[in-house]
């Protein structure tokens, strides 16, 4: 509820629940940033669960899930792609990451985006064929819709395997796996620092917006908000560059020679080899079957 300011009689609205219960720009941004940080921390928790994929050697897991993603990109049969999507769901369940949230993440990000991008190609203007759906002047053809379904299923399957990598592997293990696979040290070091930088800057951005929220009495115009956001973006960029310099100084100070050695040694066990063999066999079988049944 708003009240007049005792000195200037301006209407002082609370920072939240304005205009039909909408939240302020600062609050919305702070919440979004907070969710991003929470997501990262939640991934660490998921990766620590005693599931199927979490128990594998990070290198083996990274390579085999990448292999499945490549297989998905080679397959043309919608039914085989649906089978691969079902496989991602089964792996998610066996890895205790929550099938519902996994499916939402896959379809809300990659699936929906692929659908929106591919949908125009199903119009009769671009893909001739038997019209099966008409919406006013827009006509969608059967081959067009099959093409959209194939593309969406392929993207969803590949994205599913990628999300399984992220959700079932600690970031530190992912970096170690990349390093063990002879990714150049400079790339691994850059990835590690970028991840750290992003998290640090996310916290800074969250604090900036919360600080504004705590001092906000009136809503401000869209133009004012835009100017403020632009100015803060410039500030964060300057801070990011300064932090990068400081991090490099800190590395030099401890004798950085260009390498990022680690004390942790990854070990491959019999079940990793079994998993790898089964994955390769399955991927080969899927590609052969796809060639046999045709698109």
């Amino acid at each position: 509820m708003s009240a007049p300011c005792p000195c200037c009689q301006a209407d002082i609205a609370p920072a939240v629940h304005r205009r039909g219960g909408g939240r302020s720009l600062a609050r919305k941004t702070a919440d979004s940033v907070g969710h991003a940080v929470t997501d990262v921390l939640q991934n660490e928790e998921l990766a620590a669960r005693p599931g199927l994929l979490q128990g594998l050697d990070p290198r083996v897991k990274l390579l085999t899930l990448l292999l499945f993603a490549v297989a998905a990109s080679l397959v043309h049969s919608v039914w085989l792609l649906v089978a691969l999507i079902a496989l991602t769901m089964a792996l998610a369940a066996a890895s205790l990451v929550g099938v519902g949230s996994f499916a939402r993440r896959v379809w809300a990000s990659a699936g929906l985006l692929a659908f929106l991008v591919a949908l125009p190609s199903a119009l009769s203007w671009f893909t001739p064929g038997q019209v099966v759906v008409s919406l006013g002047p827009l006509s969608f053809t059967e081959p067009g819709l099959m093409g959209v379904a194939t593309l969406v299923a392929r993207v969803a399957a590949a994205a599913g395997f990628a999300i399984l990598v992220i959700w079932t592997m600690r970031w530190t293990d992912l970096l170690r796996a990349l390093s063990a696979m002879h990714m150049p040290d400079v790339v691994v070091a850059t990835l590690a620092m970028t991840h750290r930088q992003i998290l640090t800057l996310l916290r800074t951005v969250e604090q900036i917006h919360l600080a504004r929220e705590s001092r906000t009495l009136t809503r401000g115009t869209t133009r004012e908000n835009r100017a403020w956001v632009t100015e803060r973006m410039a500030f964060v960029m300057r801070k990011s560059m300064k932090t990068a310099d400081d991090v490099y100084d800190a590395m030099l100070s401890r004798g950085f020679t260009g390498a990022m050695p680690s004390l942790v040694r990854l070990r491959t066990r019999p079940r990793d080899w079994m998993w790898a063999a089964a994955s390769v066999a399955l991927c080969v079988a899927i590609v052969i079957a796809d060639r046999a049944v045709g698109p």
Binding site: L175, A192, R196, D249, S253, G255, F256, L263, V264
Partner: protein, 279 residues
């Protein structure tokens, strides 16, 4: 035996032409001394530490470290660089910039591994330092998941594992709660017994007075204006007021009011006049 670790003669530094960060500093730091560099924000304390660590170089004057000139060219020599980096450790003010590895274990191992120490020796050091500083449970955690105080401890530990003879600490008490500050003072005391040289930059006079046996004061115009024991320096009330390390303001106690000098930092008592701690 060498008696001085660093000698600075007329050292000045400008990040931009015409904007000095340090001006004409003459300073000698003895082996095993604990020196606190005190001064207001922006007086050049951090720049002085970076010069001592060979991260920035004097725009004027010369610096000698362990009897050899410390220059950009000298640090390009791998043997000199390795020797210098193994002797000098730097704990940055902002722990976040110092924690760039994927987990705490690798963070503690980073320095010794860069120096080319055998892996068994590095593992021993990591376990030993983690045990000493109470970090065993944090070893497998990524640095971004730590609290501010934990990050500071890990930042200090990551330098301790290098077993450097000289430790440069930039605002070491920042982000530490009272218990951790006591822990820090104990660590500094242990380093003193081991004969390590410590140079710390701080504007917290209580930490400086407690942990250092020598105080060096930088003024707001980036010059060295005092150098002596903590008792000698902290007795110079007018000087501390002039360099903005303490300030005066009026207190009202019931019907009477009077002026006090204040220093910043928990539990500070800078000049026996009247000190207040400020968070």
């Amino acid at each position: 035996m060498r008696e001085t670790d660093f000698v600075l003669e007329g050292v000045g530094h400008e990040y931009r032409a015409g904007t000095p960060a340090l001006a004409a500093i003459d300073l000698s730091i003895g082996c095993g001394q604990h020196v606190a560099v005190v001064g207001a924000n922006g007086s050049g304390k951090s720049t002085l530490l970076k010069i001592l660590d060979g991260l920035v170089f004097p725009s004027s004057g010369e610096i000698t470290a362990f009897g050899a000139p410390l220059t950009e060219v000298a640090l390009e020599d791998p043997a000199f660089r390795r020797d210098f980096r193994s002797r000098v450790g730097f704990v940055f003010q902002e722990a976040d910039v110092q924690l760039f590895c994927s987990d705490v274990r690798d963070e503690l191992a980073f320095g010794p591994l860069q120096l080319g120490l055998p892996e068994d020796e590095v593992r021993r050091r990591v376990q030993e330092v983690a045990g000493q500083l109470g970090l065993e449970k944090l070893l497998d955690r990524p640095p971004y998941s730590l609290s501010g105080g934990e990050k500071k401890r890990v930042a200090i530990a990551s330098v301790v594992t290098m077993e450097s003879h000289v430790l440069l600490l930039d605002e070491p008490a920042t982000a530490l709660d009272p218990r951790s500050q006591v822990w820090l003072l104990d660590v500094l005391e242990a380093w003193k017994r081991e004969g390590r040289t410590v140079v710390m930059a701080t504007h917290d006079l209580s930490v400086a007075a407690e942990a250092a046996d020598r105080l060096v004061v930088l003024s707001e115009d980036h010059t060295l204006v005092a150098d002596g024991t903590p008792d000698e320096v902290l007795a110079q009330r007018e000087l501390l007021l002039a360099v903005n390390l303490i300030h005066e303001h009026t207190h009202r106690h019931e019907s009477a009011s009077h002026r006090h000098a204040h220093a910043h930092g928990p539990g500070t008592d800078p000049d026996q006049a009247h000190g207040h701690g400020h968070d």
